[in-house]
């Protein structure tokens, strides 16, 4: 059963075709990585999946249901969680309250149970010790973790991670990978855009390569990384 299906999705901004006839199937429980040079249309693809922008052509299906015309909020309720490239926590709320907002409004959790649920996510994402701190005062790693935790609190079936490992030290990165792998092992589907390839490749099952808005190829990690076209276009290696 597919959690997400894109059918020939296209999107242009003016004369620029940022998403060009992209089709994709993500199985329930799968982790898919998306790579490609800057400007390849990776974040735009997330916006199309999350509903922040509507495609010019094509369809977006969640669990077989056409959600192309649905709002971002309806897609949150349908099970799409998202973390942003640049963390956007609610700065004047505590870390715990940030999660409560997501759990109570995005995830339909109620009362006391919501609090317990949020604390369990905070432990899982390594934020339990700063639960009562204001989100505005967090370090970059903590903000990235909060971004992940907040997306988790909406109880997603599919979670979209946008360059969550960028800007972290190697040690921080290893911790974060552990957390993401843990989320994946519990059955949540993941689509992850990342430039830090070693982080990405240690978690995902398949890779998709985007270039100029087009799907260059999709397949097993090793196959994609060794494909001459990918090495040339994405890694800039002459072959």
């Amino acid at each position: 059963m597919s959690i997400l299906t894109l059918k020939s999705v296209s999107k242009s901004f003016g004369a620029l075709k940022v998403t060009d006839n992209v089709s994709l199937d993500v199985e329930a429980g799968e982790a898919l990585g998306i790579i490609g040079p800057n400007g390849a249309g990776k974040s735009t693809l997330f916006n199309l999946i999350a509903g922040n922008i509507k495609p010019d052509a094509g369809q977006v299906l969640l669990e077989g249901v056409d959600v192309t015309q649905r709002s971002p909020m309806e897609r949150v309720h349908a099970g799409v969680g998202r973390s942003f490239q640049i963390p956007q926590p609610f700065n004047h709320l505590s870390v715990f309250e940030n999660l409560m907002v997501a759990a109570q409004f995005g995830g339909e959790h109620r009362g006391h149970e919501a609090g317990t649920f949020c604390m369990s996510i905070l432990s899982e994402t390594g934020l339990a010790s700063c639960a009562q701190d204001l989100a505005g005062g967090l370090s970059l790693l903590q903000r990235k973790r909060l971004e992940l935790a907040r997306a988790m609190a909406t109880s997603p079936k599919l979670i979209l991670l946008d360059e969550i490992a960028g800007g972290l030290t190697d040690g921080e990165c290893v911790d974060l990978i552990k957390t993401i792998r843990n989320i994946h092992s519990q059955g949540t589907s993941i689509i992850w855009i990342e430039h830090v390839l070693h982080a990405l490749n240690s978690v995902v099952d398949r890779l998709m390569v985007l270039n100029f808005g087009r799907k260059l190829m999709v397949g097993r990690v090793d196959d994609v990384m060794n494909a001459p076209a990918v090495r040339e276009i994405y890694l800039g290696i002459e072959v």
């Binding site: 942003f84 709320l93 309250e97 940030n98 409560m100 907002v101 997501a102 409004f105 995830g107």
Partner: protein, 287 residues
């Protein structure tokens, strides 16, 4: 002794100003909207209470209980069908719209109720007083102040202890991100303005019992409310109460020296606080 008496009367008067200001403070805190029609909406609420009290021959306190849901609906409709359309990155459109709304409300009330001064009559309670350790205070001013403290306490509980309050604060922080958490900012704003109108109705009740009112007095109430909010520090509800009390005490002290100085000394206190603490006494945070 007379100074203590003046001080106490000033503090109690400050309760009324805090009630004027609490709704303004709430709306600004949630949606960064400066509602220039807030004073006129208080006067509108006073006329709603008056109409209900007259039509059903009720005590104004009972009439206010009926007026409160009506004014909540007024706030909700106002936000949903007017203010939400102009809220955005530019702060000028909402200012212009609420200024226009102020003119519309004043003239609408003038058309409906004429320019005559009105008053809410609450019966013998208006003249009753109690003795508090040597200082005699009126029951109504005391009730006003206690109501102000309760209203601010209740608003704080809503803001910091409930799901709705978290939605208020989250929406205030990031309108775009809350959409992804399943919150509709426009709904949150409509509820906030509805609650602000509930507080405005409570303020209108005490305003109408304390003194005469007519359709033109809104802007002056807005000015006191503004000063209370700014003195207290933007975004702090307890600060708003403190701001109201400072204006009330200054007016009472000014009036004790010379009755002509009452209004002026309130405004002077405002300027002095701004000179010493430009961000107000209890600013929410550095942002």
């Amino acid at each position: 002794m007379i100074w203590i008496d003046t001080l106490v009367q000033g503090v109690l008067l400050g309760g009324l100003y805090a009630l004027f200001a609490a709704g303004l403070s709430l709306v600004f805190g949630v949606m960064r909207l400066v509602n220039l029609a807030h004073g006129d909406l208080i006067v509108l609420a006073a006329f709603v209470i008056l109409s209900v009290a007259t039509a059903l021959n009720l005590n104004p306190f009972v009439a206010a209980v009926i007026a409160i849901p009506v004014m909540f609906a007024v706030g909700w409709v106002l936000q949903t069908y007017l203010l939400n359309r102009v809220l955005g990155d530019d702060i000028l459109p909402p200012l212009l719209v609420t200024f226009g709304l102020s003119v519309v409300i004043q003239n609408g009330l003038l058309e409906l109720f004429s320019a005559d001064s009105r008053k809410l009559t609450a019966g013998s309670i208006e003249a009753e007083s109690v003795s508090l350790g040597g200082v005699t205070v009126g029951v109504m001013p005391l009730l006003t102040f206690v109501s102000a403290v309760l209203v601010i306490f209740a608003l704080n509980q809503i803001f910091y202890r409930t799901k709705l309050g978290r939605a208020f604060r989250a929406t205030s922080d990031d309108r775009e991100a809350v959409g992804l958490m399943g919150i509709r900012p426009n709904n949150v704003f409509a509820i906030a303005t509805g609650i602000a109108m509930v507080v405005a109705t409570i303020a209108a009740l005490y305003l109408g019992i304390r003194a005469n009112f007519d359709p033109s007095i809104g802007p002056a109430r807005l000015l006191y409310a503004f000063e209370a909010v700014i003195i207290g520090g933007l975004g702090s509800l307890w600060g708003t109460l403190a701001g109201g009390v400072i204006i009330g005490v200054s007016q009472a002290l000014g009036a004790a020296i010379n009755p002509e100085w009452q209004i002026l000394s309130g405004h002077v206190a405002f300027v002095v606080v701004l000179l010493v603490r430009p961000r107000g006494l209890f600013p929410r945070s550095k942002d």
